[in-house]
């Protein structure tokens, strides 16, 4: 080393004092404390007040403040009306009920809105509707939360450089749009979802008449154009008939998820279970075959289920037709197993002519033509298919939309008014639409939020939520549903109809227009008012109508299907998830957290693959599992991290985590649409579309393929590539098999049930033998005494033959009981709060998708009369009522969680964190203090969203246990109603739990067991042979019983599990 000295400055060279000083203090810089103090306080920092004094004062003042604040009660004000509106239902604390209608695109479900103190807080099915019979779906139940979504557009806006700017008044907005629409070079086009509202249709007609050359295009994200076109070809009318599943003894579904998402699931659900309910006296039930390419919820309920590749959908239909018309399907290239299934189904269909129905979920008109031919052959036309009452929820065809896009590109469209649709997001060629949209001079959106399409429009005038407006709908011909407002509009919104009326120079408000229209149509004001009160106007029932069938196109369709290319190694199928559908309600926390009925996952979409898929060589070793091996399955289930694969579809690529689901064919990947909502600038998503939706899944609408006529939800040749990444998928249930433990789930075949109807009873007798047998079990099976229930003893019965897993009850329970939404990160830690869950179990050979059988079992607090949770509570916070309720006193609970650990059903839910914001100090949800909360928790807790809370139910705070209460607030209310009216309780009328009311299939019966005439008693007595209690031998004496599942099949699949 040389002694050579390097220097940077002369100071350094000479080692001057100044340099040494500055080198020493190189990084020192005093905070400008003194400078910030006022002149008279200078020197304060040098004062001899040591830290200890400071702490002393701090401690004292905190203690004093706490004491002072704690002892003083806040002054509460009570502020009455100045002039109370003269309406008897406006009594504070008493709920009013208004009939109205849930609207989403063309779908309409009549509902009754419960309005408490001016706020709609819960929707119930409208039982006056013969269309839905009072049923609802998860999406209907959740829609009340959309009303309070702060991400909805608050006022009319104009987009200026991608930035929404408020337009102060509607007049200013009208003027602005009026100017934009004058002197257009092209035509004016209205692009809407399917409109089946009589008044809206008329208003649109009048509007179009005012603007010569304008036209109206209807578009549906879930297109049924295949059916529309096929029906036009074979029956001469471009309509969709209604279906009567209740008349069908044999139902064959070719990939149609008619209980979950296909066409009109709420209606079909009720119809379907009419043939599934079974009693011992007359043990008959319908037979349901499902041919599909993925395990849908409907497939999970099928008696016989066969899987095929998506590209074989047409061939399956053809083979079925061939079998029925005397030919044989042997010529086709389908697998022998599939062929056997088809010929079995065909035999059943042929044997039940006039009492059979075939439906298909395909959007290929040729396939639908074949299905029509099949239905013609089995005599469904006019028996199970009713052409007299078409379903009018879907009228859009791709040809119209494509023509519109072509016009837009060619500059032929001068103005585009968009209402209720979001094609930039959900059209298969959304990109093309997006580019074309920018060429239009005047674009106006009426969508309720700045969604992917609206943010590209120049003007947006938000339409109100259906709970804030007038309107009507005719989802099925002859079934009119009325919409009336249940709350004043929360934001500065104006209905689409009002805008059209105004812009067509009509100064009537839509409200008046609506009133005049219906008063005239119905004949009198009284009739109009009755229609509003009932919420539905129904034409007298007309006989089922057939429609002539034209055979001419069948040969052509057969040829076209014959020429469909064989699928590649891997095929893709896209589907709508039961919770999310096409994504209209994407920012709805209740739906986001609703576990999928099949995968039990929420908060995301994912690539569903078969269990064999993750065994293959191309999967990295770390993520390769053989789920049929117990040890590997355990490893797989414990970690929520799932391998991400890159799926290549033509030129498009998408990365998604994989989730193996039994029942999926080996060469198929299935992905749900309706997820992955995102603004053009991703950072705007939270503000424009919603806080909760950020990061939830990926959009796969662009993967939909176009066959030249219609969009098809499958792709016949795709490839994939494993990545090194993982992505956590939140599942509310990870173990999927009940391991043949029939103490939990009891099922048997119809044949067995006919042969020995007492099989279940005998099984129970066998189980309880060591404890005294069925007869003496209650008294002898325990050391504890038996307590009597004078008066009322609540009980619930759940029919597993009727429950098909739709999840309406789960969301209804959320809404009724203020159940918290915890967000994905908490679900990943199994902190989900669902009081009611629908357990899904598989049985059968994991590797044979056709052998898989699925069971849905709603699981809620069983309100055990000898409850193990009650005995272990150190503070008696949970105890039993004389009415048989397992009570939970939140304010007594100290959070030991012993009860949850001792609950055999695992239905108790612990508030691990302050999900509801109910704790008293303001920063309690501070991410620094309690860990990470997802944005959804904050969305649920803002003051607007909190308006949805049920004021009769306590909002639980951190550290307490909660669980199903049998909707005790409803029980108390029903009892009080009866007491006030000086009469005994009316069974099934005064008291109904939220889940029971929401159920579209009447699977849940609830009532007073002590009343010998009650429905619950009758149900249990009439179905004595099927009654069972989950884990009965534990002698917990549940008050919830199940009715064993009867399958109309040859055998109950056994789980094949390598130990």
């Amino acid at each position: 080393m040389s002694d050579k000295k390097y220097w940077q400055s002369f100071g350094e060279f000479s080692e001057s004092e100044g340099f040494k000083q500055s080198a020493q203090n190189e990084f020192r810089e005093d905070l400008p404390m003194e400078a910030s103090l006022p002149a008279d306080k200078q020197g304060l920092l040098d004062a001899k007040t040591p830290r200890r004094d400071f702490l002393k004062y701090l401690g004292f003042s905190t203690a004093a403040a706490a004491l002072a604040a704690g002892c003083e009660m806040p002054v509460k004000k009570v502020i009455p009306y100045v002039n109370k509106p003269d309406a008897s239902e406006l009594i504070p604390g008493v709920a009013g009920y208004y009939a109205t209608t849930y609207i989403s695109g063309g779908n309409a479900i009549p509902v009754v809105a419960k309005v408490r103190d001016g706020r709609p807080i819960k929707l119930e099915g409208n039982e006056l509707s013969s269309f839905t019979k009072g049923g609802t779906s998860a999406r209907v139940q959740a829609s009340v939360l959309d009303l309070y979504d702060g991400a909805r557009l608050h006022y009319p806006i104009q987009m200026v450089n991608g930035d929404p700017q408020e337009v102060s008044t509607f007049e200013a907005f009208d003027k602005m749009v009026g100017e934009a629409m004058t002197g257009l070079s092209g035509s004016l086009v209205l692009l809407t979802s399917t409109i089946n509202s009589p008044t809206t249709k008329q208003i649109i007609g009048e509007f179009l008449a005012k603007y010569p050359g304008s036209k109206h295009v209807q578009y549906d994200a879930d297109s049924y154009s295949g059916m529309l076109l096929a029906n036009e070809a074979t029956h001469g009318k471009r309509i969709i008939p209604s279906y009567q599943f209740e008349n069908a003894k044999v139902i064959v579904s070719l990939g149609a998820d008619f209980l979950g998402t296909w066409l009109s699931p709420v209606e079909f659900g009720w119809q379907y279970v009419q043939g599934r309910k079974i009693d011992a006296k007359n043990p008959e039930m319908s037979k349901h075959y499902q041919f599909e390419s993925m395990l849908s919820m409907t497939g999970g309920n099928a008696d016989d289920r066969y899987t095929h590749r998506p590209s074989e959908a047409g061939a399956v239909a053809l083979a079925l037709l061939a079998e029925l018309s005397g030919g044989s399907s042997s010529s086709s290239s389908l697998s022998p197993k599939l062929k056997a299934g088809i010929s079995k189904a065909a035999k059943d269909l042929a044997a039940n002519k006039g009492k059979a129905l075939v439906v298909s979920g395909s959007n290929n008109p040729n396939v639908q033509i074949i299905v029509n031919a099949i239905n013609e052959a089995i005599g469904a036309n006019g028996t199970t298919i009713n052409w007299g009452k078409p379903i009018q929820t879907h009228a859009g065809v791709e040809a119209d939309m494509n023509a519109l896009i072509a016009d837009m590109e060619a500059g032929k469209v001068g103005a585009l008014l968009i209402y209720g649709v979001n094609p930039v997001y959900d059209y298969y060629d959304g990109e093309k639409f997006k580019t074309a949209l920018q060429k239009i001079k005047a674009t106006v959106s009426f969508n309720e939020r700045l969604d992917e399409t609206a943010e590209l429009c120049k003007y947006s005038i938000p339409a109100p939520h259906f709970l804030e407006r007038w309107g009507d709908a005719e989802p099925k011909a002859g079934h009119i549903a009325m919409i009336q407002p249940t709350i004043n509009p929360l934001f500065k919104t104006r209905s689409f109809e009002d805008s059209l009326l105004k812009w067509s120079g009509n100064n009537t408000s839509y409200e008046n227009y609506f009133l005049q229209y219906w008063t005239k149509t119905l004949g009198s004001t009284e009739a109009y008012e009755k229609a509003l009160q009932d919420g539905v106007v129904e034409q007298p029932t007309v006989a089922l109508a057939a429609l002539g069938f034209n055979n001419a196109k069948v040969a052509e369709a057969t040829a076209a299907i014959g020429s469909i290319k064989k699928g590649g190694n891997l095929e893709l199928v896209l589907y709508q998830s039961v919770a999310m559908g096409v994504g209209n309600q994407a920012n709805n926390p209740w739906l986001l957290e609703l576990p999928d009925p099949i995968t039990r996952a929420n908060w995301d979409n994912y690539a569903i693959v078969s269990p064999k898929f993750i065994k293959q060589e191309s999967i990295p070793k770390k993520y390769r599992f053989d789920l049929s091996k117990r040890s590997e399955a355990d490893k797989f289930e414990v970690h929520p991290d799932r391998l991400v694969i890159k799926i290549k579809v033509g030129s498009k690529e998408i990365s998604l985590p994989i989730l193996p689901v039994p029942g999926t064919p080996d060469n198929v990947i299935a992905i749900a649409v309706g997820w992955g909502r995102q603004s053009a600038k991703p950072e705007n998503t939270s503000e424009f579309i919603g806080r909760s939706v950020v990061g939830a899944g990926k959009n796969v609408f662009p993967l939909i393929s176009f066959n030249g006529v219609t969009a098809e939800w499958s792709v016949s040749d795709i490839s994939f590539e494993a990545t090194n990444e993982t992505y956590p998928v939140a599942q509310a249930q990870t173990h999927s098999s009940y391991e043949g433990r029939n103490e939990v789930v009891k099922e048997l075949t119809l044949e067995d049930f006919k042969k020995s109807p007492n099989e279940i009873l005998e099984e129970r007798e066998e189980e309880l033998k060591p404890y005294g047998g069925l007869e003496k079990f209650e008294k002898e099976g325990t050391l504890y005494g038996v307590y009597d229930k004078p008066g009322i003893h609540w009980g619930m019965s759940i029919d597993m033959n009727s429950c098909f897993g739709c999840g309406a009850c789960v969301v209804a329970c959320h809404a009724e009981n203020n159940v918290a939404v915890v967000g994905k990160s908490e679900v990943l830690r199994y902190h989900d709060m669902h009081w009611l869950r629908i357990d899904r179990y598989f049985s059968g050979n994991l590797e044979d998708p056709d052998d898989i059988q699925t069971v849905f079992q709603p699981m809620l607090c069983q309100h055990c009369d000898n409850a193990p949770c009650e005995n272990v509570c150190p503070v008696a916070a949970t105890n039993h009522s004389s009415e048989g309720l397992n009570q939970m006193a939140y304010n007594r609970c100290i959070g030991t969680r012993y009860c949850a650990n001792n609950c055999p059903f695992k239905v108790r839910r612990f508030n691990w964190a302050d999900y509801s914001g109910a704790d008293s100090f303001p920063n309690n949800q501070d991410a620094n203090g309690v860990g990470h909360f997802d944005p959804v928790v904050f969305q649920m807790n803002d003051d607007l969203t909190r308006m949805v809370l049920n004021p009769d139910v306590t909002v639980r705070s951190r550290g307490v246990m909660e669980k199903c209460s049998f909707c005790v607030q409803r029980l108390q209310d029903g009892k009080l109603k009866a007491k006030k009216e000086n009469r005994p309780l009316k069974d099934m009328e005064d008291v109904r739990t939220a889940c029971q009311q929401a159920c579209p299939s009447d699977a849940i019966v609830f009532g007073n067991v002590n009343d010998s005439q009650s429905m619950i008693n009758k149900t249990r007595a009439e179905n004595k042979q099927r009654v069972f209690y989950a884990l009965e031998e534990l002698h917990v004496l549940p008050n919830v019983n199940y009715l064993a599942k009867v399958r109309n099949t040859e055998k109950i699949s056994e789980s094949v599990n390598e130990k």
Binding site: V82, P92, N891, Q972, L985
Partner: protein, 417 residues
């Protein structure tokens, strides 16, 4: 415990002497009918919105006509009856409500009550509750004095004992220890500390239990509204203003249009002098003026000239959020009198919280109150017909009544859910 029992006893008496049951109006119950239907506008001997009613049967001798008038005065006015038309004009053409639902028997009962009504003389004797309370205070004082005397006696005796012991020790020659003054005597110190701990602990616990309880809370309200004048002197039915109590969980505070039903006509106060709790006099007429300023009413023109604004009353009875309480359950199904929980409201110029509103207080009442259980005659709420066991027990004489507790009224989820 003693305290609870006393409260319970008090409640029991109040229940027993409950004047009327609101829903069980019987035709002969003229007073109740009068209060429910007429008292908001009429007084038997004083002119309010409507005329003083006493002597009406002699003024209108035609009984049928009088009944017709009460049921539907508009129809009678229409017939051109001179007496009633004159009356109508003299009361500023303020229309009277119609009562088509009153039966003839009920009207007779009302008229009978009106004619036999006598102005209440002097303040009625204390309702019994107060007396019990005084007694309770006396007792505790007595016990305190006794305890003190006994403690002093014990102290003296202990001193005497130790002196005697010392004397005897001296006598027997046992060397006496250095005498310890009593304030350094460990026994005494321990004893005092123990007593302090027990007494202090008692008060701390009592204080802690009392946290958040606001018995006797009597805030100042924006308007000096006297329940004594309205519900006491003028006998307006509670439900006239607090109608929510009949239907809803909330009794509710009346909207201002309810006030103006009467006060559009009554614009000055001419009754007995009003006093605040601190003894200061209140000008009743000025308080009515305050109402007008809230409603925007102009007395001279008899019109609402300005937009109304709400009165922000201070809420007196507050229950924690985790308690579900329903007024209609108690007064309609349970037939509990308002006074049971709200005290003698007809004597309160300014309302104060009468009851503790603590859980123990609720539970005690639920333990002791009998429900409206159907008896052998069939009277009582038919809802309870499902309680077969209790019917049998009553028949057998195993029990003599069914309390709220028996049907589960003390279980957690009757009030907490």
């Amino acid at each position: 415990m003693l305290h609870y029992r006393l409260i319970a006893k008090k409640l029991f008496y109040i229940l027993l002497f409950a004047v009327v049951s609101i829903s069980g109006l019987r035709a002969q119950d003229g007073k109740a009918l009068f209060q429910a239907n007429c008292a908001s506008c009429h007084n038997p001997i004083k002119q309010l919105t409507g005329p003083a009613l006493q002597g009406v049967t002699s003024r209108v001798t035609d009984k049928a006509l009088l009944h017709a008038w009460i049921k539907n005065n508009i129809a009678v006015l229409g017939t051109g009856n001179k007496y009633f038309n004159d009356l109508y004009v003299s009361f500023g053409k303020t229309p009277m409500n119609t009562f088509p639902n009153l039966s003839d028997a009920e009207i007779d009962a009302i008229l009978n009550y009106v004619e036999t009504y006598k102005a209440p003389t002097a303040a009625p004797a204390d309702n019994g509750g107060g007396g019990t309370k005084d007694q309770e205070n006396d007792n505790s004082l007595l016990y305190g004095v006794l305890t003190l005397i006994l403690a002093v006696i014990m102290f003296v005796l202990l001193q005497v004992n130790s002196s005697l012991k010392k004397l005897s020790d001296d006598k027997e020659g046992i060397p006496a220890m250095e005498p310890i003054p009593f304030y350094r005597n460990k026994v005494y110190i321990t004893f005092v500390v123990l007593i302090l701990f027990v007494v202090g602990g008692y008060y701390v616990v009592q204080g802690a239990i009392g946290l958040g309880r606001t018995k006797n809370y009597q805030p100042e309200q924006p308007i000096f509204y006297s329940h004594k004048v309205h519900a006491g002197t003028n006998q307006i039915s509670c439900l006239y203003c607090h109608g929510g109590a009949w239907e809803s969980k909330h009794a509710g505070v009346p909207s201002l249009n309810i006030c103006m039903n009467c006060h559009a006509a009554i614009n000055e106060y001419k009754g007995e002098a009003l006093h605040r709790e601190d003894g200061t006099t209140v000008d009743g007429t000025a308080e009515i003026q305050k109402l007008y300023s809230y409603t925007g009413y102009d007395v001279k023109s008899g019109k609402y000239t300005e937009p109304g604004k709400s009165i922000e009353w201070v809420k007196i009875h507050n229950l924690p959020d985790h308690v579900y309480f329903n007024h209609s359950q108690h007064i309609r199904a349970g037939k509990v009198q308002c006074q049971t929980c709200h005290g003698n409201i007809t004597e309160m110029s300014e309302v104060k919280q009468f009851a503790e509103l603590s859980m123990g207080w609720c539970i005690n009442c639920h333990r002791n109150s009998k429900i409206d259980f159907p008896d052998s005659t069939g009277a009582g709420n038919k809802f309870y017909s499902i309680y077969e066991k209790f019917h049998n027990d009553l028949k057998n004489g195993t029990i003599d009544s069914v309390t709220v507790e028996k049907i589960g009224g003390t279980e957690c989820q009757k009030c907490h859910y």
